[in-house]
Symmetry: C2
Subunit: 360 residues, 2 copies
């Protein structure tokens, strides 16, 4: 029986908490059982060719029988890398983030890396704290998704001396490594789709916390307008916070305009959800009276009524790309600094030709 050494001689009563008094077998235990030295056990378990096949087999058998698992923490101490990455996210409880997280976790896992999940709640202070915590845990690399504070703790990240990859960060980055979505092209495609449908009064419903991505999408929207010969109207640009609730308010404002828009380009699908609800609440119909387009193509986009026309972001793949980039960096290789991934316009039924009598 394996007991903590410090308990020796004290007849340790197993009181309700077995896991605190018992110890997992160590490499030395296995060595003793196999009548070899610990290094030999270590070698055998790593399938080193240097060890006799029979001894190796015996050692492995014993290891399996005892349920021995080498301690990654002890190994990490000596090898100086933990095969662990830190993943900082504003919140997992967001369908966009959770898809990215999923892609990251999968890829990391496939390469033998474990991931520490850290939620920042979009709170800069908390974000700094969690990064500190990751540093203490000696992660080999860090991925930060949709950080709203990128630049804020940039020096902090620098000091950690581990590679970092950003996914869709919201700040104009002097950061070396990141994977970003084609915000400009994506939104331009959505807006162009709308102008192609004959819409002339098209609104943009942005995200005031989106910074970089919001600016790029707005620019894409303006570019599409320009191409269609439609002059930009600042009054048709409103901002929510990327969530349905605020998007409803912003949409109500739009609908109350003397000359309301016949179409709305939303920063993301969450906003589109709110926009559609607001249009209905106003007694109008989507897309009969106003067309609505989203951005992201979250799972629910195909199930709204009407199904949402939106710009697809390959979220899982973005997570995968970020992880692969980080993996390279951690291996000491070079990696593309700015990975840009393309979007795809998914036309569903929330957008329709503008009604001619409404056109300006």
């Amino acid at each position: 029986m394996l007991k903590k050494k410090r308990d020796k001689g004290t007849a340790p009563v197993n009181r309700a908490v077995p896991h605190r008094v018992l110890r997992q077998p160590s490499i030395k235990d296995i060595a003793r059982l196999a009548k070899v030295s610990h290094p030999t056990v270590s070698r055998a378990l790593q399938n080193s060719p240097l060890v006799n096949a029979q001894t190796a087999a015996r050692i492995r058998r014993i290891a399996r029988a005892t349920g021995y698992r080498a301690s990654a923490v002890a190994r990490g101490l000596v090898t100086r890398h933990t095969r662990t990455i830190g993943l900082v996210v504003t919140t997992v409880a967001d369908p966009f983030a959770s898809e990215v997280v999923c892609g990251i976790e999968q890829t990391a896992n496939e390469h033998g890396y474990a991931v520490f999940l850290a939620d920042s709640n979009a709170d800069p202070e908390r974000e700094k704290r969690v990064v500190q915590a990751l540093a203490e845990r000696r992660v080999d690399g860090i991925i930060v998704t949709s950080s709203r504070v990128g630049t804020l703790y940039l020096p902090l990240l620098r000091k950690m001396m581990v590679p970092i990859v950003l996914v869709n960060d919201q700040h104009p980055g002097d950061f070396v490594h990141s994977v970003m979505i084609s915000n400009f092209e994506g939104m331009r495609a959505a807006a162009a789709h709308l102008t192609g449908l004959g819409h002339r009064r098209i609104a943009y419903l942005g995200d005031r916390f989106g910074y970089q991505s919001d600016a790029e999408r707005l620019a894409g929207y303006r570019a599409a307008l320009k191409s269609a010969g439609i002059s930009f109207c600042a009054g048709l640009v409103v901002h929510g916070d990327g969530l349905p609730e605020e998007a409803m308010r912003a949409t109500e404002h739009l609908l109350g305009l003397r000359k309301p828009p016949t179409a709305i380009c939303c920063y993301n699908d969450m906003s589109a959800l709110g926009a559609m609800k607001a249009v209905r609440a106003y007694g109008l119909s989507v897309p009969g009276d106003v067309s609505v387009a989203g951005f992201d193509d979250l799972f629910f986009a195909a199930y709204t009524d009407p199904p949402l026309t939106t710009v697809r972001q390959p979220m899982r793949r973005m997570g995968k790309l970020a992880t692969e980039s980080l993996l390279k960096l951690m291996a000491g290789e070079q990696s593309v600094a700015q990975i840009k991934v393309g979007t795809e316009l998914v036309v569903r039924e929330s957008t329709a030709p503008a009604r001619t009598n409404v056109c300006s």
Copy 2:
């Protein structure tokens, strides 16, 4: 400058990968700088009263200046606990799971614990592997959410000697610690709401992978029927996989029945999403022709058209409760074995009185 010792004498060129050749400062570095011994540094940084206030201040200043952060891996080796918990989830890319994960992460973080996120993809083999990986990393405890294979690797978990808490596991558990939702009462309330509205032909759209929870919800549905004096009709029970797509198919089947239901109780909101779409596609309206009720109250429930009547699960709180339970267990305290959390019926607009001419 701190360099890896092994590089000494070799004039190490800093080639593109600073983090592999540099080393983070260790406690000894700080000790040298502060002209004290390492234990003193250790004590100072832990705010031990045993160390002179001025020396402590000086040490802390130096530590801060150098960006020193004690290595959690070294500490873990000696203290024999890592302040780390493992979180196994079938997939994070699921709005239900991600809410629970969020609650867990928050609570763990507040208590100084880091969480390893492990995705099992509902694959038993993969689930076993990730648990092994967690064992190697010497997590202090494990939370498994919505496991479909609970019993399968139960012995494995036993061997790890760390406490485990399950959240909504899908297998009748002989597991000691878990937090579960009141499936029976929740679904009974939803179905009772429907019978109260005058519905007599009410269908149940379940989840064939839900096992335990599906069985309980089905039982709740049957209980409500019984209370209303409605005899159970097996033909009105269909099963999807908890996702919209399959729910659509199941709903189409229901709608094609000679005597189709006027209301559908769905296993979860995702299924309800599909059910509503199928009803519309069939040329019928929700709730005009058929009422639809969900379960979970995911964020989109308030934004569907019509807004979804559903049974709320306090997902974040469930995560919090699970974590608190695990925290107690890890501290060697007792904890309630089976925590049951209540639901709340949220009546929105996807349910309405049955049309009298349709009643049987």
